[in-house]
């Protein structure tokens, strides 16, 4: 993408900026639509209507929320640790925003085609933990502190099963690059990794059950990493009031919100790249059929976004159906079940891929 814009403008700064702004716009859009959808989806699930007074079908509800939040007073208690308090939301947002750099939206639309894409995403999204801990500590509020502690424990723990599953996928595909991984699962949906990958051999059928297990593990643990129900204990509304952002108001709080929805999309994207073909279409490209190859990147972007939103909807569906776990049960799920199974899965996939 950078190259494309550089060719177009011939200016390095402009093209860098455009490339950087694109994910930002995406994050904002995701949050804007995400919050609206969350309210609408929960309303539909709960026999309600949801927002419908602000614009047609309440479409501008989130816009109103953001404009309102921008004009809220920035009330800061005297007791907070000012520096950390102000850095924390920025850091959290930066963490989730930076992950977008390596996520391929289509074969052309990609910030950085880094060879170590998946490694980078996992590493950079850990930055969020630091931000959350800062927020919890600096707020000088006991609920924030408890929320931050829970969150740190949770995110750090759940990164292990995620990483293990990612490792097995890396073993299988032989690359760390997200775009190469997507590229491998080309053409039709039976070539997706969840169906054993593109190579047609005995391996493919042997792999399917273990791919399913891997997908379930990675889906559960990413759910926990973005603090969604049933793993939303860091901000557990009924216990900790609002968790680590109890003391934040206005735009600072909005940044936490942005990063939450940004993260939701990011992990959905990772899951779809690992198992569901990334930006590849499940049914072939219209561009190929009618002979207009320029159409393909746009189609790919469409499929990618569609897959991302599908997983976000699944997350919302779970959120409004399930109760939440307790903090020790959450840890037990991770250390007693997910990690051993992920290890086993890793070994088995390793053996199969040797066959």
């Amino acid at each position: 993408m950078y190259q494309f814009i550089y060719d177009l403008t011939g200016n390095m700064i402009i093209s860098t900026l455009v490339v950087a702004v694109f994910p930002l716009v995406n994050v904002l859009l995701v949050a804007l639509i995400g919050v609206y959808l969350e309210r609408k989806v929960s309303a539909w699930m709960q026999d309600r209507v949801g927002p419908n007074r602000t614009g047609p079908y309440g479409l501008f509800q989130t816009v109103a929320d953001f404009v309102k939040m921008m004009q809220k007073e920035d009330a800061v208690s005297n007791e907070v640790d000012k520096k950390l308090y102000n850095i924390a939301p920025v850091l959290v947002f930066a963490g989730s925003f930076a992950a977008y750099a390596a996520i391929p939206f289509s074969s052309k639309l990609i910030g950085s085609e880094a060879e170590v894409g998946i490694f980078y995403v996992i590493a950079i999204s850990s930055l969020v933990v630091a931000g959350i801990l800062m927020a919890g500590w600096s707020s000088n509020n006991k609920y924030s502190l408890l929320g931050a502690m829970r969150s740190a424990a949770q995110i750090v723990s759940y990164e292990i099963p995620t990483a293990l599953v990612v490792l097995s996928m890396v073993m299988l595909t032989g690359t760390l690059s997200l775009s190469k991984m997507s590229e491998m699962q080309t053409a039709y949906f039976w070539n997706w990794n969840i169906f054993g990958g593109a190579a047609f051999a005995l391996n493919k059928f042997l792999l399917i059950p273990f791919m399913l297990v891997g997908f379930i593990i990675v889906f559960i643990s990413t759910l926990a990493e973005v603090n969604r129900t049933p793993f939303d204990i860091p901000e557990a509304e009924s216990e900790l009031v609002a968790g680590y952002f109890t003391e934040y108001c206005g735009m600072k709080w909005a940044m936490f919100m942005l990063s939450e929805y940004g993260n939701m999309f990011a992990v959905s994207a990772i899951v779809s790249i690992l198992f569901f073909g990334g930006y590849q279409s499940p049914i072939g490209y219209l561009g190929n059929t009618i002979g207009a190859t320029w159409l393909i990147p746009y189609e790919q972007a469409f499929w990618f976004v569609a897959k991302g939103w599908f997983f976000i909807l699944v997350q919302m569906w779970l959120r409004w159906t399930l109760p939440r776990l307790r903090v020790d049960q959450l840890m037990a799920v991770c250390w007693k079940y997910l990690i051993p199974y992920a290890f086993l899965n890793l070994i088995i996939i390793g053996i199969i891929s040797l066959l």
Partner: protein, 371 residues
């Protein structure tokens, strides 16, 4: 060398999403582990007892509504029975039937809020909304008869404020038929949800003897496995004519007397209430809805203690009369007030998240705790 650790005091409430109103809990915690819980009450102390001394007997009824505002009919009923005991009057048969039906409808409505908020505290928000949606059916049935949605002022000393609406019987039957499958839905959605069971089973176990010594009553007591229900053990009104079971906690998912048992007793009680309504609704006799009592009620000197089985437990009214038109003293034995006392005992050694589950399963109404 040992590391010096300090415990932390966490103040939960009076503004906290799951203290069910304005209860304040002072938790002493070590990490997430709760060492002790100290409830502070009185944030909703509305001076009921002072008001009842300043009002005439029949004027106290609206104030009783506001004690346990989720089960107003039950409060009215208790007060009316105590006053009638003092006056020594018998109410007409029709009144008794309508009172029972109303009280049972109210019990279902109250349990709906209790179960829903217990679920919501644990994180399952959707069943809460479903239950509130179904509660509206009951509210509209009662509203048609007595004109208010929540605080009815319906059961008066010696009778009722109005006769039932002509549509009452039909709508109640419709509701009973509508609600039976909804209980099954609730069971599927929440009661047998694996995560819900994990969160509530074996948490906050209340042994029977502790429960009795602490004076617990209602589903909190029955969850501990003892079959004690005033409707059966000390029958008032005409409850002895109906056939119903008393659900008790059996420890189906864990230990007898845990949060899940208390929750489950409430679900099953809703079914039993439907049974009572079904038995009563077709047999409401014709007649008057007011006993012949003078406009100015002036009971003889003396005391009366009456208790009824409210959704939250054993609600008692102790009235002292000095022969005047105002009660000399009215003391309410509020079930939530007594049940809440167990909280400190139940919460020891649990995690912060469990406190919420336990508090939800005790099901308190602050209006009644503080009066």
């Amino acid at each position: 060398m040992s590391l010096k650790t300090e415990t932390m005091v966490l103040n939960m409430g009076p503004q906290h999403p799951s203290t069910h109103g304005v209860l304040r809990l002072e938790l002493e915690i070590e990490g997430e582990l709760v060492l002790s819980v100290k409830p502070h009450l009185g944030y909703l102390h509305r001076c009921f007892e002072k008001h009842s001394e300043a009002m005439q007997y029949n004027q106290v009824v609206p104030y009783t509504d506001r004690l346990d505002y989720l089960a107003s009919i039950g409060n009215n009923l208790g007060y009316a029975i105590a006053a009638e005991k003092l006056l020594g009057i018998q109410v007409p048969e029709r009144v008794e039937y309508i009172r029972v039906i109303m009280a049972e409808l109210q019990r279902i409505a109250s349990h709906m809020v209790a179960l829903g908020s217990n679920g919501a505290d644990i994180g399952a928000l959707t069943p809460f909304l479903y239950l509130f949606r179904d509660r509206e059916h009951i509210l509209s049935i009662i509203e048609e008869t007595c004109g208010a949605r929540m605080l009815y002022n319906y059961i008066w000393i010696g009778g009722l404020s109005h006769d039932i609406h002509p549509d009452f019987v039909r709508k109640t039957k419709e509701f009973v038929n509508y609600f039976k499958p909804t209980i099954v839905e609730l069971d599927n959605l929440l009661s047998y949800n694996k995560i819900f069971i994990e969160r509530t089973a074996n948490i906050g176990v209340l042994p029977v003897d502790t429960a009795i010594n602490f004076g617990a009553s209602g589903p909190t007591l029955r969850g501990s496995g003892i079959k004690f229900d005033l409707r059966r053990d000390d029958p008032y009104s005409i409850y002895d004519r109906f056939d119903f079971d008393i659900p008790v906690g059996k420890g189906l998912q864990g230990t007898v007397g845990d949060c899940w048992d208390r929750y489950y007793v409430r679900v099953r009680e809703m079914e039993q209430s439907l049974r009572i309504i079904e038995q009563a609704i077709d047999h409401i006799p014709e007649g008057d809805v007011k006993a012949a009592i003078p406009k100015r009620i002036k009971p003889p000197k003396g005391t009366a203690y009456a208790r009824v089985e409210n959704p939250r437990g054993d609600l008692g009214y102790f009235i002292i009369s000095d022969g005047n038109t105002n009660p000399f003293r009215v003391k309410v034995r509020a079930p939530s007030f007594v049940n809440l006392e167990i909280l400190g005992e139940l919460c020891k050694g649990h995690l912060v998240a469990d406190i919420i589950a336990i508090l939800g399963s005790i099901d308190i109404v602050l209006g009644e705790v503080d009066r």
